[in-house]
């Protein structure tokens, strides 16, 4: 079953066409890695799918919920407010720079949205938050404030905060790029564990080995188009397109 289907997605900033006809799908339980050079539109794609950016045209479906549908005249229309609100509960997003709420303790960060958006009772939200903190290895930090944590710990809290909303699909935008190299491992470990539990994830990353090992499907983007996509053993180990080859050889050299 497809949790997410994107078809012919287009997005421009002024006359800078950033996404040009993007189509792909995400199966339940799969891990999709999006790779590509800087400026190729990876973040913009993630932001369009999470409604932080408004797409110009195309189609986005979260299962049966249609977020963006084509009107037939080359334009597209977004769903009504109630549907969009429902769709927002389908996904979570982990940012490159965490974006934790600095004035709230770790536990408060985790329960704010479950309590106020999903209407979960506070003690139940706390119990689940503690479960998640244990999962990301931060049980002893629930009373800490974000500024008291290392970057890696903050990012693990951010992952737990996203999971606290029980999303069907979790997006990551370069979750390790803001971290010191020695801290990336702890994040990748958490994501690997989630993959083992069949969490559906879409991950923008520059960590090729990680993308290769964890993902079921790799999308290589360049200049706002998908150049190549498929099994990581195909796209990463045996790229067919020249641009993919050039990108991969550049990245493995670095």
């Amino acid at each position: 079953m497809n949790l997410l289907e994107v078809r012919h997605l287009q997005k421009a900033f002024g006359d800078n066409a950033v996404l040009r006809d993007i189509s792909f799908e995400v199966h339940q339980g799969s891990v999709v890695a999006i790779i590509g050079p800087s400026g190729s539109g990876k973040s913009t794609l993630l932001r369009c799918m999470t409604m932080l950016e408004t797409a110009d045209s195309g189609e986005i479906d979260y299962g049966k919920l249609r977020m963006l549908r084509p009107l037939g005249n080359g334009r597209s229309a977004y769903a009504d407010k109630a549907t969009l609100k429902e769709i927002k509960k389908q996904f979570g997003l982990v940012f490159q720079n965490f974006n934790l709420f600095p004035h709230m303790s770790v536990l408060s960060n985790l329960i704010e949205a479950p309590v106020h958006v999903l209407g979960i009772k506070k003690d139940e939200a706390i119990a689940y938050a503690r479960e998640l903190l244990e999962k990301v290895g931060l049980s002893d930090k629930e009373a800490a404030y974000p500024c008291e944590l290392s970057g890696g710990q903050q990012q693990r809290v951010a992952i737990a905060r996203a999971l606290a909303m029980k999303p069907n699909i979790l997006f990551f935008d370069e979750p390790t790029s803001a971290l010191d190299p020695e801290l990336t491992g702890e994040i990748l470990k958490v994501i690997r564990a989630l993959a083992e539990e069949n969490m559906t994830m879409v991950i923008v990353t520059h960590e090729m080995k990680f993308a290769h090992d964890v993902s079921d499907h790799v999308i290589f983007m360049d200049g706002g188009v998908i150049i190549e996509q498929g099994d990581p053993r195909e796209v990463i180990d045996n790229p067919q397109n020249k641009r993919t080859q050039a990108f991969l050889s550049r990245i493995t050299e670095a």
């Binding site: 999470t50 997003l93 940012f95 709420f101 600095p102 004035h103 949205a113 106020h116 958006v117 500024c147």
Partner: protein, 223 residues
Amino acid sequence: MEQVLGVFTYIGSMLSQMSEGIVNSLLIFAMTLLFSLPLGLLVAFGRMSRFKTVSLLFKFYISVMRGTPLMLQIILIYFGPYYLFRISPAQDALIPIIIAFVLNYAAYFAEIYRGGIESIVKGQYEAANVLGLSKPHTFIRIILPQVIKRILPAVTNEVITLVKDTSLAQILLHEEMFNLANVIAARECTIAPLLVAGLFYYLFNLLVAFVMGRIEKKLNYYQ
């Protein structure tokens, strides 16, 4: 020893002669804070409106309030209704004075709020948005607490200025502390009442600085 006691008795008698003025000054101070702090937030919203005309209108309001003397504003608000509509000026000048103070300080606070709000990074709004938090909820629970922490030093400055600005009320109000001090000084041919008034402002502002310092400390639990 006796002399020291004498000084204190003297200060005490001065203060009691000025008591009506002190009450009025405190009233102006408290009412101005009570109303201008929330009004300033509304003015800041107007100033940041995405509708050009609205934001220009509030920008003009702020520039006039900050660009003209508060004393002039007090006079205009008191006598304005008379010259415009021939409504006779209120018997009690206190309310028009407080209105002028509120309108003036709201403009200053608005700019402080605006600076604070604009200093919050976009990521905070985006994180709240993706979690499904509503816009009002995001502002009240996520943005405003961070803004308050950041603007506290600037607000402290304004509050200290306000303490001293209350003396401007004497333009219309006989029973204003500084004015009474002046009257007594003239009558008794001594500068002492003015020094007592100065001491009052100074101690009041020490208290303001102390209280604001405590609040700042309280919000220091995060960076």
